[in-house]
């Protein structure tokens, strides 16, 4: 039998499960929490990268979407935090090869709700963790599990917001005011939408085609967004959909941080659960 004193700091031996559990609650939990905090602060920081140093206005980054010459849509989007502050879209009309150009009006910005939501979720997770700093004494395993559940819920949500593209239906786009942000104004038969899918900033352009009022074509409302049965007085059908995208490096980092943190949380939960037989009935 090796006594705990003999063991090296890296190999800790315990006389009893109770002792080991105590160590887990008092030492290991805080180590993991600190680690989590560091990672998540880093992730949170990614969402508000300042221009220089640690303070100041948020950096603007340009992203070029659809760089290959084969694309019919090209866009240069400027992202500042969660807002698209500039957008230049070039669209080659398939019918007549006419080149259309639109840009955001000077006074307009488009907020990417997905980024804001993800950022808020991470900040909430960081808040939960900072509330339990090294001075805090965990007395029960369930307390730790509860905290981990809360943190994981926020992280899962943050990640889901980025991994689940917020593709609006055409009526939603029409109602959102996105169409009114451009100069020159978008033609009535063109809709655009911006969203995040995983680590990519995406731009979708829908070209509509006016249906003759007498048209017998059946449009089913369930098949939105590809069909917009009625908008205004006329009926439309989507004739072309163009999608272009560009990787946003810091979103990629954030996603990696989320995944790593979630795994850390789960590992801690698993460790605590091993001792459930002890703490279910008695708190230490």
């Amino acid at each position: 039998i090796i006594h705990p004193q003999v063991a090296s700091p890296h190999l800790q031996l315990f006389n009893s499960p109770e002792e080991e559990f105590k160590w887990l609650l008092q030492e290991e939990v805080h180590t993991v929490l600190r680690q989590l905090q560091d990672i998540l602060k880093e992730a949170s920081h990614r969402f508000t990268l300042p221009v220089s140093g640690s303070e100041g206005p948020i950096k603007q980054e340009n992203f070029i979407l659809g760089s290959s010459s084969a694309e019919q849509v090209k866009g240069v989007l400027t992202l500042q935090g969660d807002a698209l502050c500039q957008a230049d879209i070039n669209l080659k009309m398939p019918r007549n090869n006419q080149l259309l150009h639109f840009a955001f009006r000077e006074d307009k910005q488009w907020k990417l709700q997905q980024i804001q939501d993800a950022r808020n979720h991470v900040n909430q997770a960081v808040y939960l963790l900072t509330n339990r700093d090294t001075n805090y004494q965990f007395k029960t395993g369930s307390e730790v599990l509860k905290l981990m559940d809360a943190v994981m819920l926020q992280l899962t949500r943050a990640r889901n917001r980025l991994t689940t593209p917020a593709t609006l239906t055409l009526p939603e786009i029409a109602a959102s005011g996105l169409t009114k942000m451009f100069t020159p104004a978008l033609p009535a038969d063109i809709f655009v939408n911006f969203y995040i899918n995983l680590n990519k900033l995406c731009l979708t352009v829908y070209q509509l085609h006016v249906l003759q009022p007498s048209s017998t074509k059946v449009t089913t409302p369930t098949s939105t967004p590809s069909l917009l049965p009625e908008w205004g007085s006329q009926r439309y059908e989507v004739s072309h959909v163009h999608k272009v995208e560009c990787v946003v490096p810091w979103l990629n980092d954030a996603l990696v941080f989320f995944t790593v943190s979630l795994q850390l949380c789960q590992q801690l939960k698993d460790k605590i659960s091993v001792f459930s037989g002890y703490w279910n009935y008695r708190p230490y």
């Binding site: 939501d117 509330n131 029960t140 307390e143 990640r159 689940t164 593209p165 098949s223 979630l262 789960q266």
Partner: protein, 882 residues
């Protein structure tokens, strides 16, 4: 949040993390309305506006989205939203201000980035049909991070209190300039606060302490020096004076911060109340006096009242019993062994209970329920009801599965159990033999499932086990070996789905990742995340109806295609699914209707529920009155010799049923007797033609061995046994629902002549309401506990155990009473109609064979009057209740 202003309609609204919202009637636990939104709410406030005679209830919701949603308080429909033009962000807290001066109601909110927003909502009336959003009137950064609460001073109508986690601040409500700021000390975290009076605020912390502060003169509009500090640096502001500490008396360990609220009532004896609820189930109330005297200042405010759920349960006499407590007593302990898992086998009328010591008990469900709920001679018998104990697990049993119930392809002898000891055991329930132990998992078994019908022949004879080490196994009952073990999952397994056509087992984990396993080879086909994972899981759902009905394939594919097209469609589908699920829950009743002659025992279902992982199972009994009536009549009609058996059984049935502990009668509203009768006629015909089902009853022989009555009846057709189960169910049901204590003469008749049994204590009922939402009454609902937490329950009456046991069940809620009356009347009518023809002469035959019951001797003498009594009983019940 509360959802109705009037005192007659006590409605509350609840919202879950998944975005579900339910509107509840507090009086009878009915779910009136439910909905699901794609967003999560973190706060809801009720707001009623009156213009002229028109009163409309609104719920203002904020959460993980950048608006405030205005929801109709009766339909739960989103009417419009309050939107920010300038830096929109999530709202962390809000407050509704009703100004008497301007007649203008405003919503003041603080966003997560610390920007104060103001919306005016009074103008709403004129734009009722309008769904356009309202933009904010004002937007001002007040630099309050992690805002916990914002409240308006109702006394001065001039100041705002904003509580953040590390400081709280008072602002002038006129121009939102800072009047004072207090930082927290000793690392405490504030969680909320409110104004107690014009010059005092109360602020509470995460550990449940509250502090009353007296504000400096610069914060008081009545004072000359009001706003004298405006513009100063925070450090130079006049600090408020701490004048009182309100603290919890017991420092019990809490796993999460308690919830504290301050109520300022304009009526009643308690003007100002501070209430706090915590994770241990404790509710504390402090009455906050207008003037704090010296004693309060020094010693802290005394708690006015404190109670916990645990205390309320402990005070109950008799103590609410577990379903098999009489079989689980251990000499060394006051507490019976906990039931940790259970499954009900309706075909046999058996309840299988796994316990914390690893043993499994099989008992007849009605018998054990009668023991727990009703008084009778069975109370004197040891080891009653007859049962069988299976021993094999070394620690707590965590799950039980009777595969034959789910699919007839499984051997009906097999019962499968999983335990904390990582093992899965196959049992033969008839012989009590342990057939095989699987030890393939590295963690507690958490779930046992049955693969769908169209899996490969090999998989069809497996059960699927899920363990807490995040592994899934396919255990073949036929080969007695594990044919596949899918481990390597990083996160706990949340859901198991199947793609039988592709031979795939689909594992959904709690982090949203999905693992697709090839069942035959045990190879991991792929692991995906995000939207693809959601799509794969949904696609499996679509495939389920296909499994049932191969003709529906094209439709399924179409649906899948549509699902993949857009998130909106996906969400829509999810919403529909929720509704279908809910509707199906209800509809499952009605679909059973058609099958009733086949599943002849479904008049009773026993469902185990857990309120907490470490609590023992509690059991809810669901009675399907319609099924019960159909069974009674069917059995009578299908048997030529009914005349001989039924009267006695009837008497017994109507006389002796009941059970205690946790009890729920789920009944459909439409138990209208006339309708039922018509269905019955048809069903009887069907039943006469198909007798196969009754073969299953052969299994019930096991029980007969220990029961003299059954033994004596062995020469009789097996149907007789089934008959008794039905009658037992009827007996249990009638005894529980009868309004004991209303009429002494009637009670005596019920006890002595009809053989009904009195409950030990009042039975707790439940109510199934809209969308399959269920509410259960807690034991002791009929006893005045003198606690504010219970005051919402209408008609609290203290009743002695001897009189008025049943009265309680009729006083609790109109909805429950209606259901009970309809049920009891229809069942009583059925029993009467059954016996009228065949009443004389036959109970004698059976009477002596049965264990002596108090009612039996008299029964023989009073055959003819009995129906009359029933009539009378009904008459009285009707008069008394409707």
């Amino acid at each position: 949040s509360k959802a109705c202003a009037s005192s007659e309609k006590q409605y509350i609204v609840s919202a879950s993390e998944s975005g579900e919202m339910c509107l509840w009637d507090v009086n009878d636990g009915r779910c009136i309305e439910f909905t699901k939104l794609a967003c999560t709410h973190t706060g809801i406030q009720f707001y009623q506006f009156t213009v002229g005679t028109q009163r409309e209830g609104r719920l203002l919701c904020h959460g993980h989205y950048p608006e405030i949603l205005v929801v109709d308080a009766t339909s739960l429909e989103v009417l419009y939203s309050l939107v920010s033009k300038i830096s929109p962000d999530w709202i962390s807290s809000m407050s509704i201000i009703r100004s008497h001066r301007t007649q203008e109601d405003t919503v003041v909110a603080v966003s997560v980035t610390g920007i104060l927003k103001v919306w005016i909502v009074t103008s709403e009336i004129s734009r009722m049909q309008d769904t356009e959003p309202i933009f904010e009137e004002e937007s001002k950064p007040i630099y309050c991070q992690n805002c916990q609460s914002i409240s308006f001073c109702a006394f001065t109508q001039r100041s705002l209190l904003v509580v953040c986690s590390k400081y709280w601040r008072v602002f002038d409500a006129g121009d939102y300039s800072l009047l004072c700021s207090v930082a927290s000390e000793n690392g405490q975290t504030w969680t909320g606060g409110d104004f107690v009076s014009a010059d005092k605020v109360i602020v509470w912390t995460e550990d449940g302490q509250s502090f009353v502060y007296k504000l400096p003169a610069s914060c008081l509009p009545a004072s000359d020096s009001f706003r004298s500090d405006v513009g100063k640096v925070i450090e130079n502001l006049n600090p408020p004076v701490l004048c009182c500490v309100v603290d919890r008396s017991d420092k019990q360990l809490l796993i999460c911060p308690p919830v504290t609220r301050f109520f300022y009532g304009r009526r009643g004896c308690f003007h100002k109340l501070l209430t706090q609820g915590d994770s241990s189930g404790r509710l504390c109330i402090w009455s906050v006096p207008d003037t704090l005297d010296q004693q309060d200042t020094n010693e802290g405010l005394k708690m006015t009242m404190s109670t916990t759920l645990q205390e309320a349960f402990c005070r109950l006499t008799p103590c609410p019993a577990g379903i098999i407590d009489q079989l689980s007593l251990i000499p060394t302990s006051h507490e019976p062994l906990k039931v940790t898992a259970s499954v009900y086998i309706p075909a046999h009328g058996r309840l299988v209970c796994g316990r914390e010591d690893g043993s499994i008990v099989i008992v007849p469900a009605t018998q054990t329920a009668i023991v727990q709920l009703l008084q009778g001679e069975h109370m004197l018998r040891r080891g009653w009801p007859p049962h069988r104990t299976l021993r094999g697990h070394r620690n707590k049993v965590t799950c039980l599965l009777y595969p034959h119930q789910i699919s007839s392809r499984y051997d009906q002898r097999y019962l499968v159990s999983g335990g904390v000891d990582f093992s899965v055991i196959i049992w033969d329930i008839f012989s009590g033999e342990m057939k095989h132990i699987f030890c393939v998992h590295g963690g507690e078994i958490t779930q046992l499932l049955v693969p769908p019908e169209n899996c490969s022949a090999r998989v069809q004879h497996c059960v699927c086990s899920v363990a807490s080490d995040h592994s899934v196994g396919l255990l073949s009952l036929r080969e007695k070996k594990c044919i596949m073990l899918a481990s390597r999952h990083l996160f706990p397994i949340q859901v198991i789905k199947w793609r039988p056509s592709d031979d795939y087992l689909v594992v959904g984990c709690s982090d949203g990742s999905v693992y697709v396993w090839q069942m035959d080879t045990g190879a991991l086909d792929r692991c995906v995340m995000g939207i693809t994972a959601v799509e794969i899981l949904n696609a499996c759902d679509e495939a389920v109806p296909a499994a049932v009905d191969s003709l529906s394939h094209p439709a399924v594919n179409l649906k899948q295609a549509m699902t993949r097209r857009s998130l909106a469609a996906l969400k829509n589908m999810a919403h529909q699914k929720l509704q279908t699920l809910a509707t199906n829950l209800l509809a499952s009743d009605s679909s059973d209707k058609g099958n009733l002659p086949k599943y002849s025992h479904n008049s009773l279902m026993v469902q185990a529920i857990k309120t907490n992982l470490t609590d023992p199972d509690i059991h809810v009994l669901f009675f399907d009155v319609e099924a019960l009536i159909i069974q009674l009549l069917t059995e009578e009609a299908s048997r030529p010799n009914t005349a001989l058996i039924s009267p006695e059984n009837l008497q017994k049935a109507s006389g002796s049923s009941d059970k205690g502990g946790s009890f729920l009668a789920g009944k459909r509203a439409a138990v209208l007797f006339q309708q039922v009768k018509e269905t019955i006629k048809e069903n009887i015909k069907e039943h006469l033609l198909d007798d196969d089902d009754e073969d299953e009853e052969a299994m019930r022989q096991r029980r007969e061995e220990s029961d003299p009555e059954y033994r004596s009846s062995k020469s009789k057709p097996l149907t007789l046994l089934e008959y008794n189960l039905t009658m037992d169910t009827a007996k249990l049901f009638m005894s529980c629902l009868h309004a004991w204590g209303l009429n002494e003469v009637l009670d005596e008749v019920c006890l002595d002549r009809l053989g009904m049994l009195k409950p030990h204590c009042s039975v707790s009922f439940g109510l199934l309401s809209r969308g399959g939402h269920m509410s259960l009454m807690l034991p002791g609902h009929d006893q005045a506990l003198g606690k504010p937490s219970y005051s919402a329950v209408e008609l609290i009456r203290k009743m002695s155990i001897t009189e008025g046991l049943g009265r309680g069940t009729y006083g609790v809620s109109r909805a429950v009473t209606t259901q009970h009356l309809l049920s009891i009347i229809s069942l009583a009518n059925t029993l009467m109609s059954m016996t009228n023809a065949t009443f004389i002469g036959d109970h004698m035959k059976k009477g002596p064979a049965r264990p002596p019951r108090p009612g039996t001797p008299e029964l023989c003498k009073v055959k003819t009057p009995a129906p009359v009594t029933r009539h009378a009983a009904q008459g009285q019940i009707k008069q008394g209740k409707i």
